[in-house]
Amino acid sequence: MSDPIQLLTADGTRVEHPDVAFTPDAALLAQHGDEAGVLKALLRDMSLLRRFDVEATALQRHGELGLWPPSLGQEAAQIGAGRALARQDHVFPTYREHGIAWCRGIDPVGLLGLFRGTDHVGWDPVEKGYEPVTIVIGAHALHAVGYALGVVHDGAVGTGDAARDTAVMACFGDGATSQGDVNEAFVFAASYHVPVVFFVQNNHWAISEPLARQTRIPIAQRADGFGFPSYRVDGNDVLATYAVVRRALEHARSGQGPVLVEAVTYRMGAHTTTDDPTRYRTDDELESWRRRDPIDRLAAHLRAEGIADDAWFTALDAEAEELGADIRARCKALPDPSPLASFDETYVELTPTLAAQRAEVVELMDLDGAEHEEVAR
């Protein structure tokens, strides 16, 4: 398999690719005026995502979150993929796709509740086309396939109506490709020829286990064996990732079946805030990826081409700082859940057994002198 598709080199030079070009879709162009505007918007997305992620990591360090899985280093992969999605598309994410959530218009504070232990999901999955995150590795790949099967049965694929044709995106990592569920998802997707894009962020690590523990061939190559096409793209190149994912989504929406996109990137941070990556990887490796930073390269390009000047960057920094402060304040203000929530959210129709247990909790809370009024609401 050849080198990953690249349209912007690590030092910020635009390069041609024989098959793939960066052509923003009409909506993006309309929103940002012209291609230069789109480039600035992508850099802004990535920079704000990074600021958010750094803030969340800091919040964990200060005891405000129980845990945080950083997206640091994967900004281009996530923003490139996220901005290629259409409104009606539907995403099945893992715990790390903060950038794709951002592109779906989800308030980033909504991503924090799960890790603060205050809320399972901080957005409406239907409205945002973005499911609650799945922590059990790989399980949701099958859900994406089933959803896509429903899209087919609804006739929302291959109609040529750009506002109707729908693709489904299943996000997972290199480690997840070893799971049975993911491989079964490949089989089902191929068998039913459903409009699903398997978006694999190969960040080279599954906690402490290197890519080589999961596969001896590039992940993209696996699609061959299941009978659908794939792309291998430089996941630190937001232009290439956008272009490739856009093409993959269009392939799916137009009724040509599943596609796998392997975005080759790197997890610059720890697996989560409880992890210590110095135990298993070298500084040299980290350094070599630092030189391929997704944000630096687009920033270098915009400066070199005179698309963005110092004033623009200063304003972006200020916006990022403002975002950080806002996230910090609103995270700390997230309300504690009611102890009764899990009783009310387990079933559509509360069972008699659970109703009795719920009453027991209400009574115990009273014994504890807790504000019953508050809880009963």
Partner: protein, 325 residues
């Protein structure tokens, strides 16, 4: 004599088992170079090599299925499942294969596999990281289910489980990994493996617990003592086979029993214990056997997990109800 945490005691137990039998091999996610996310296998790959401590691809069904093959080839695999909630991809292999292969081979195959699972809550974790799946395994014929409540038991029971010829699901109360320390004398002879134990003597009521809730019950007994009530505490240690000898003897004496576990209440270990104790102690009982358990909902958000888990207050409340019955 050394003072060890639960994590260090389990690590020492694994090391000694590996030194004693070169057929003992470890498999799991991140257990090699990293030493496991809880560091239970710390240093073992370095000292025993990559052939005996295998970092596996990320697939639990694969891990357990592969362990079965190794066992059939004469090895004694010890599998680490990273967290309780991640055992289910391996559920089919455990329930349909590990548990049944001996029967299916007409009693010819033995499967000396140990499946280690960190379990239980109270650590402020996100979902799938705080569950108590013991009943699922205790309900499965062909599996044995053990759970130590302290570092000394952790050290010995793990070695005994590895030396045992039947498959064992070995549940480790993760909340105690780094918080609980005890004195360990490796020169001692351990007691029998499949035996429960009285861990505090008392006369007014019996608390029956295992794993993480043994500490809760000991704290409850301490508090009750200050109020002039004497509670006996039983640590079950083995859930399958269930050893009810000490519990039955205790309830015969006290006439009252409360079973305490973190797992959901319905169809749980507590129900089995209550039924069995009732069968054996019917005439001695002054009150029905009560249960203090996790509720019948998925494990809740961490901000309210202490409202959900059995607490000293809930245990003492149940004791009050049993006494007042």
């Amino acid at each position: 004599m050394t003072t060890l945490t639960m994590a260090k005691a389990l690590n020492a137990g694994l090391r000694r088992a590996m030194e004693g039998d070169d057929k003992v091999v470890l498999l799991g996610e991140d257990i090699g170079r990293l030493g496991g996310v809880f560091r239970i296998t710390e240093g073992l790959q370095k000292d025993f090599g990559e052939n005996r401590v295998l970092d596996t691809p990320l697939a639990e069904s694969g891990i357990v299925g592969t362990a079965i093959g190794l066992a059939l080839r004469g090895y004694r695999p010890v599998v680490e499942i990273q967290f309780d909630g991640f055992v289910y991809p391996a559920y089919d292999q455990i329930v349909c294969q590990v548990a049944k292969l001996r029967t299916r081979s007409g009693g010819r195959h033995a499967l000396p596999i140990v499946i280690r699972i960190p379990y239980g809550g109270g650590i402020g974790a996100v979902e799938h990281h705080s569950e108590s799946p013991e009943a699922q395994f205790a309900h499965t014929p062909g599996l044995k289910v053990l759970t130590p409540s302290n570092p000394v038991d952790g050290y010995w029971m793990l070695q005994q489980a590895i030396a045992h010829d039947d498959p064992v699901v070995f549940l480790e109360p993760k909340r105690l990994y780094h918080s609980m320390k005890a004195e360990l004398d490796p020169a001692l002879e351990p007691g029998p493996l499949f035996a429960s134990r009285v861990v505090r003597q008392g006369t007014d009521a019996t608390l029956i617990a295992y794993g993480p809730t043994v500490q809760t019950c000991l704290a409850a007994a301490e508090q009750a003592a200050e109020e002039g009530r004497s509670l006996e505490v039983i640590d079950l240690r083995t859930l399958s086979p269930l050893d009810l000898g000490p519990a039955v003897a205790s309830v015969t004496k006290t006439g009252r029993a409360v079973v305490v576990h973190e797992a959901h209440r319905s169809f749980g270990v507590g129900a089995e214990v209550a039924a069995a104790v009732t069968e054996h102690c019917f005439y001695a009982l002054e009150a029905p056997v009560l249960r203090v358990c996790g509720y019948d909902t998925p494990y809740p958000l961490s901000r309210v997990e202490h409202e959900w888990l059995p607490t000293v207050d809930r245990v003492l409340d149940a004791v009050d109800r049993a006494v007042a019955f």
